[in-house]
C-alpha cells in the first residue's frame, strides 16, 4: 500500500493549500517585482518599460524580453547610498538582536520558572501590547521622547539634567523602539524551549556536582539554543527590512534599506530601482531564512 493511500482527499488538499498560498501571494508577486527590477524607468503609466502585453501577440512579448537588463543591479553596486543602507540595516538588525537576546533571555527564563498558574499571566503581559496598534505605540514613544515629552519632564523634575536632552531622532531612540516592538518575538520562542525542559536535568546536574551557575551554562543554555536561534532569526529578519521605526524615531543622516526603498519608490517614482533593492534584500535574507527553516525542522523531528 502506498503512503498516499493513507490520506483522504481533503487531507491531501489541505497539504497543498500552503503551497498554493505561497505561489499566489509570494511567488507571483515576487516574479512581478523581479520583472520590474529588470526594466527601465519611464515617464508613463506604469512608470517603466517594457510592459508585457498579451494582446499584442507573441512577437511583442519576445521583444519585451530582449529589452530586460541588469542595469538597475549595477546601479545598486556602484552607488554608495545603497551599499551603506544595506550595511546599516544589517548592523542595526545585528545590534538590536543582541540587545533583545540579553533582555529577552532572562525574562523568558524567569517566566519558565514561575509557578504554573503565573506563567499564563506572564505570557499575557508579554502579549498585551499587541492589542494596541503598532503605529500608535510608536507615536506614544515619540510623545515620551520629544523635547517637552514625559522623559525630559521626569528627568528635569528629578534634577538629573538641567535642560531638556535630545532623545528623538537619534539612534538610541530607534534601538529603543525596535527592542520594545520586537521583544515578544524574542521572548516567546525562548520561553517555549525553556518551559519544555525537564527539571530533572537540572537536578541531575546538581547531583553530579554542578553549581547552579555551571548547571545553567552546561545544561540549560545549550539546550535552549534552538529557542535562541529561532528568537534571534525571528527578530533579525524583519528588523533588516524595518521601515516605520527608523523613519519615525531615528535621525535622517543614515538610512536603513527599507527607507531607501521607500524613497526610490514614492519620492523618485523609480519603480525599477526600488524593485532591484527589494530583490537584493530578499536574497540577503535568504540565508537566515533557510537557517531558521532548518532549525524549525530539526525541532519538529525532535518532538
Amino acid at each position: 500500500m502506498s503512503a498516499e493511500a493513507n490520506f483522504t482527499r481533503p487531507a491531501r488538499l489541505a497539504a497543498i493549500a500552503p503551497y498554493v498560498w505561497m505561489a499566489l501571494f509570494f511567488l507571483v508577486p515576487f516574479l512581478f517585482v523581479l520583472k520590474i527590477s529588470l526594466s527601465q524607468t519611464a515617464i508613463a503609466q506604469p512608470p517603466y518599460t517594457p510592459v508585457f502585453s498579451l494582446d499584442e501577440g507573441w512577437e511583442a512579448i519576445k521583444t519585451a524580453f530582449a529589452a530586460l537588463s541588469l542595469d538597475n543591479f549595477r546601479l545598486l553596486v556602484s552607488d554608495d547610498l545603497y551599499v551603506l543602507s544595506y550595511l546599516r540595516s544589517l548592523a542595526v538588525a545585528g545590534v538590536s538582536t543582541a540587545i533583545l537576546l540579553l533582555i529577552g533571555y532572562p525574562i523568558a527564563y524567569g517566566m519558565a520558572r514561575l509557578p504554573q498558574r503565573w506563567q499564563g499571566v506572564a505570557m499575557m503581559l508579554v502579549i498585551v501590547p499587541f492589542w494596541t496598534s503598532f503605529l500608535i505605540r510608536i507615536y506614544a514613544w515619540i510623545n515620551i521622547l520629544q523635547h517637552d515629552g514625559l522623559l525630559n519632564q521626569i528627568l528635569l523634575a528629578l534634577h538629573v539634567v538641567s535642560k531638556p536632552m535630545v532623545w528623538l531622532s537619534t539612534d538610541s531612540a530607534m534601538y529603543l523602539g525596535i527592542v520594545y516592538s520586537y521583544l515578544p518575538f524574542m521572548i516567546l520562542p525562548l520561553y517555549a524551549t525553556l518551559s519544555k525542559m525537564d527539571p530533572a536535568l537540572l537536578e541531575a546536574a546538581a547531583d553530579l556536582g554542578a553549581s547552579p551557575r555551571q548547571a545553567f551554562w552546561r545544561v540549560t543554555f545549550p539546550l535552549s539554543l534552538p529557542g535562541v536561534g529561532a528568537g534571534a532569526l525571528l527578530c533579525f529578519i524583519p528588523i533588516v527590512g524595518e521601515f516605520v521605526i527608523p523613519d519615525l524615531l531615528a535621525g535622517s543622516n543614515a538610512l536603513m534599506i527599507g527607507q531607501t526603498l521607500w524613497l526610490e519608490f514614492f519620492n523618485n517614482k523609480d519603480w525599477p530601482t526600488a524593485s532591484a533593492v527589494a530583490v537584493v534584500l530578499l536574497l540577503l535574507l535568504l540565508a537566515p531564512l533557510l537557517l531558521y527553516d532548518r532549525l524549525q525542522r530539526r525541532q519538529l523531528e525532535r518532538t
Binding site: 541531575a204 553530579l208 556536582g209 554542578a210 555551571q214
Partner: protein, 393 residues
C-alpha cells in the same frame, strides 16, 4: 563544611579509612520530618544504613519513599531531624556538594551530550585531570557494557542502554552512597530481571552502598538484603526479605507484601485444655473453627487477634490427611470455587462452609494435570501450626 564533601569524587579514594568509626552506620536518618503544607510526607522517620548494604525502600505510591530519597540527595530539605552521612549532618548541604549520587527514574540524561560526555559530566565538575577523566569514563563504559557507543547521543540509544548510561554516570564519581529511584521501572520484564542481577553483582563487586526506591516488591525482594516498607511517611517494618514475608509485623504489611489469608479470631484463654499439645496456642475463629498456631516468641498483649497464612502454605487433599500428623492439625473442609492456572503454580480459592474464602497455591510439579482439583470439588485444606503467623494489629 569539610573539604571532603566539597570535592567528593576526588576524596572518594582516600575515603576508606575515614569512612566511619566501627559500629557507626554509613547513613543515619534521625527523626526526619518533611511537610508539604499540612501534609507530612515523611513523618519522624529514623533509619540506619550500614556501609556496603543494599537497602530497598518499598511502599505504595505517595508513601513518602521518593521524598525520603530526595532528601538524601539534597533536592528536599528536611523540616526536622538530621541526616548523618559518615557522622556529618548533610541535611542542609546543597545537592552539588554532597558525596551522594542518584540515578533518576527518568534517567535525566543530558540530551545534548554524548554517552561519553554524560558520564564525564560529574568528573569534570570535580575538576579531575583530563587523563583521569578519560580513564574513569572508559572504566565505567566497560563496567556497564556500553563499549562502542561512547559517541552516541541519548536519543540514539535503546531504553536498556539509556538505563546503563544513567547508572554509569551516577557511579562515575564513586559516591559513598548511591540512590536509585525506580531504576528499572522503564524496562520490560525480561530486561528488568537480568538487570536486577547485574545491579546486585555490581554493588557487591564495587562494595558500594545502594538505596533503591521501588514499588515492585518482587524487585525489592530479589535485590535488597534489607527492606524498609513505608506507609504514610513512616517505616512500617524494616527486615530481610524472608522476615518481611514470613514474619510480617502488622496486618498492613502482611497484606501489602504478597498474598495472604487473614482469619479473625480470639485467643483461647483456657490454655489448660491444650496442655497436651506443647508450645501451641489455640485461636477460636467464627469462620474457621479453632486454629492451632505455634506459640509466638513474644507474649500476646491482646486476645483479639488475626491468624495470617500464606496461600502456598495451605495444602489441599481430596480426603482428610492421616489424623495424627501434627502438621495437618488444622484442617478445613470446603469447595473449590475458583482455579487460576499461572504456569508454575495454580491458585485455588476454597469456599468453606462458613462462607470464608481461603486461597491456596500449589506448585505444578507434574506436567500432566492428574493432580489438579476441579471447580466444585470438595476438598480438605490443611496447614501446619508453624506456618501460621498471629498478628495483633
Amino acid at each position: 563544611m569539610s573539604k571532603d564533601t566539597g570535592n567528593p569524587a576526588r576524596a572518594a579514594d582516600s575515603n576508606a579509612e575515614s569512612r566511619s568509626a566501627p559500629g557507626m552506620p554509613l547513613l543515619r536518618i534521625d527523626a526526619v520530618v518533611k511537610k508539604f503544607g499540612q501534609f507530612r510526607a515523611v513523618d519522624a522517620l529514623s533509619l540506619d544504613i550500614q556501609a556496603g548494604e543494599f537497602f530497598a525502600l518499598l511502599g505504595p505510591s505517595g508513601c513518602g519513599k521518593t521524598t525520603l530519597l530526595r532528601m538524601l540527595a539534597g533536592f528536599e530539605t528536611p523540616d526536622e531531624g538530621r541526616i548523618l552521612l559518615g557522622g556529618e549532618d548533610i541535611a542542609q548541604i546543597s545537592p552539588h556538594q554532597r558525596p551522594v549520587n542518584m540515578m533518576f527514574q527518568s534517567y535525566a540524561l543530558f540530551p545534548h551530550l554524548s554517552v561519553r560526555d554524560n558520564i564525564a559530566f560529574g568528573l569534570k565538575r570535580a575538576k579531575l585531570p583530563s587523563s583521569e577523566i578519560g580513564a574513569r569514563v572508559k572504566e565505567m563504559v566497560t563496567l556497564v557494557k556500553l563499549d562502542g557507543l561512547e559517541k552516541r547521543k541519548p536519543d540514539q540509544l535503546s531504553g536498556g542502554q539509556r538505563q546503563r548510561v544513567a547508572l554509569a554516570r551516577s557511579l562515575a564519581r564513586r559516591p559513598k552512597l548511591l540512590l536509585l529511584d525506580e531504576p528499572l521501572a522503564a524496562l520490560d520484564k525480561k530486561l528488568r530481571e537480568s538487570t536486577q542481577l547485574e545491579l546486585m553483582e555490581l554493588q557487591r563487586r564495587l562494595g558500594l552502598t545502594f538505596i533503591i526506591v521501588t514499588h515492585d516488591q518482587q524487585e525489592a525482594m530479589t535485590m535488597a538484603a534489607r527492606i524498609g516498607v513505608m506507609d504514610a511517611g513512616r517505616l512500617e517494618q524494616v527486615a530481610s526479605p524472608r522476615d518481611l514475608y514470613e514474619a510480617p509485623r502488622s496486618r498492613w504489611i502482611a497484606e501489602f507484601v504478597g498474598d495472604i489469608n487473614l482469619i479473625e479470631g480470639k485467643l483461647d484463654t483456657i490454655e489448660g485444655s491444650h496442655a497436651t499439645i506443647a508450645r501451641r496456642l489455640a485461636i477460636v475463629t467464627e469462620q474457621a473453627g479453632t486454629i492451632h498456631i505455634a506459640k509466638p516468641s513474644h507474649p500476646l498483649s491482646r486476645t483479639s487477634v488475626c491468624v495470617a497464612i500464606r496461600p502456598e502454605k495451605i495444602k489441599l487433599s481430596r480426603r482428610a490427611p492421616v489424623s495424627d500428623d501434627v502438621r495437618a492439625i488444622n484442617r478445613l473442609e470446603g469447595v473449590v470455587a475458583d482455579v487460576g492456572y499461572l504456569g508454575g503454580v495454580t491458585g485455588y480459592k476454597i469456599e468453606l462452609d462458613s462462607g470464608l474464602i481461603l486461597r491456596s497455591s500449589l506448585a505444578n510439579t507434574a506436567r500432566l494435570d492428574s493432580d489438579a482439583y476441579g471447580l466444585g470439588q470438595r476438598v480438605v485444606a490443611w496447614f501446619s501450626p508453624e506456618d501460621c503467623v498471629v498478628l495483633e494489629q
